[in-house]
């Protein structure tokens, strides 16, 4: 049963590698958004260090949302989605495979790149470490929650903007605990509690989101 998960994962990664530009657009969107803030707020390092957690997390939120629209759209348009709906395996497993591929394409590169950008904000070593950890824990939850929005707005006109309207309120707890962990660590309080909450939310999303997404897909695709 689980090999369908890896089949979908492999297929989506293969497709993504063929259209490599998509991978980089999300990544460079993240880099550009993060680099915009110093231009807007000024190069003064103390303020930059202060705003860094929030900036990184909001940028990660927007970047992962940017790539959501295409999550199911291509399969929906060429009919592959209908085959998936008819597959004997549980649909939430297939959805999990697609979301995992989405995370590997958009989430992971952000996480790997954030230390480099952290230097732009003159963040000390441990803060970058915690930032890396929170993004690693948080971005899967973003992809999972976002997949619900993507499924609900499948094939709608202006779907991109609509997804952000539906999904951003649901991202807020992840944002609060993600940015909060980094800030707590930087202020010496230690980000432990926040990280546990972030992990808990990630696991909850792992369980609930695929169910909601597959229900939404059945509603949208038929």
């Amino acid at each position: 049963m689980f090999d369908v998960f890896f089949a979908i994962l492999r297929r989506d990664l293969l497709l993504a590698m063929r259209r490599r530009t998509d991978v980089f657009t999300t990544l460079f969107f993240f880099v550009i958004v993060v680099s915009l803030f110093p231009l807007g707020i000024g190069p003064e390092l103390n303020t930059l260090r202060l705003i860094a957690p929030g900036v990184f997390w909001v940028a990660a939120l927007l970047a992962s949302m940017l790539a959501l629209e295409k999550l199911f759209l291509v399969d929906y348009q060429d009919g592959a989605l209908e085959q998936m709906l008819l597959a004997p395996q549980p649909l939430s497993l297939l959805v999990l495979g697609k979301v995992a591929a989405h995370w590997l394409i958009t989430g992971l590169p952000l996480v790997l790149l954030s230390p480099l950008l952290g230097l732009q904000y003159d963040l000390p070593g441990e803060t970058i470490e915690v930032l890396l950890l929170t993004l690693l824990l948080g971005t899967p939850a973003l992809s999972l929650i976002g997949s619900i929005g993507a499924a609900l707005t499948l094939g709608l006109r202006g779907g991109g903007v609509l997804v952000s309207l539906l999904v951003l309120p649901l991202y807020i707890p992840v944002l609060i605990f993600g940015a909060g962990a980094v800030e707590a660590q930087a202020s010496g309080l230690g980000g432990g509690g926040h990280l546990f909450m972030l992990g808990a939310m990630g696991l909850a999303a792992l369980v609930v989101a695929p169910l909601a997404t597959s229900a939404a897909l059945r509603v949208s695709a038929e």
Partner: protein, 249 residues
């Protein structure tokens, strides 16, 4: 046994529910007008002046009922969404659609009065207090639901997609509230929450409860009126609509 269940489902059909919604709506409207009149009189002439906040605290008689209603309506909408998905009754989805604008209105009132209350008491029009912030996020959830319904032309898909969004939203409301509360206490310096410093005099509490029931009756009246509209819209080419007195007359 089975006949009783059948009766219970009788009102699930729009044709039989339409007149019932009319009577409930008119009754609720009457109750709302009476309670609002009594509540307003009490808020200004019966409730004493607050020793700490003077006359300004009277905003509570509108702010708190609206805030309670905004959360209550969202949960009721989620209930109708769940009922619609489980029993596949179209009328349940119509009820959820009918409640959405009123819920968004109540949230807006709560935010507006919250800001107008915050300005004299805390010196700023908007304060990132945990409850006000959660109210703002609830407003986004309402707007998201209404936007999704508006964006889906096909009625059947719109109903079910909206229902799923409501269920996902209602599961997230406690999570959002507690994470905002955690976030708020993290930055405790930023704001002072609406502490009920002066212990609520009995008559103040009574006034607030009367106003809450008034808002509740108002919401029912408006929801019934709007659900009748949605029924007419969806059943416009049926015979029973063409034979309605107001249409055939």
């Amino acid at each position: 046994m089975s006949s009783r269940i059948l009766n219970w489902f009788k009102f699930a059909s729009p044709a039989t529910f339409y007149p019932l919604a009319g009577t409930i709506g008119r009754a609720a409207a009457a109750v709302a007008v009476v309670l609002l009149a009594v509540g307003l009189y009490m808020s200004f002439f019966v409730a004493p002046t607050d020793y700490k906040q003077g006359e300004g605290y009277r905003i509570i008689f509108v702010h708190v009922p609206a805030a309670w209603m905004s959360m209550f309506i969202y949960v009721v909408m989620a209930f109708w969404a769940a009922t619609g998905l489980v029993f596949r009754t179209r009328l349940s989805f119509m009820m959820a659609r009918a409640l959405a604008p009123t819920g968004a209105l109540m949230t807006f009132i709560a935010l507006w009065t919250g800001a107008f209350w915050g300005k004299p008491m805390w010196g700023a029009w908007w304060v990132w207090d945990a409850r006000l912030t959660s109210e703002l996020i609830l407003f986004f959830l309402y707007v998201g639901y209404i936007a999704l319904q508006g964006a889906i032309p096909d009625v059947r898909r719109g109903d079910r997609a909206g229902a799923i969004l409501l269920l996902v939203g209602v599961v997230n409301i406690p999570i959002i509230y507690f994470s905002v509360k955690w976030w708020n206490t993290l930055h405790q310096g930023a704001s002072v929450s609406i502490t009920k410093g002066s212990s609520m005099a009995a008559v103040m509490l009574e006034t607030m409860l009367i106003m809450t029931f008034a808002f509740w009756a108002y919401a029912i009246a408006v929801a019934m009126a709007r659900v009748r509209l949605i029924i007419l819209e969806r059943e416009r080419d049926t015979r029973w609509v063409s034979e309605l007195p107001e249409v055939a007359g």
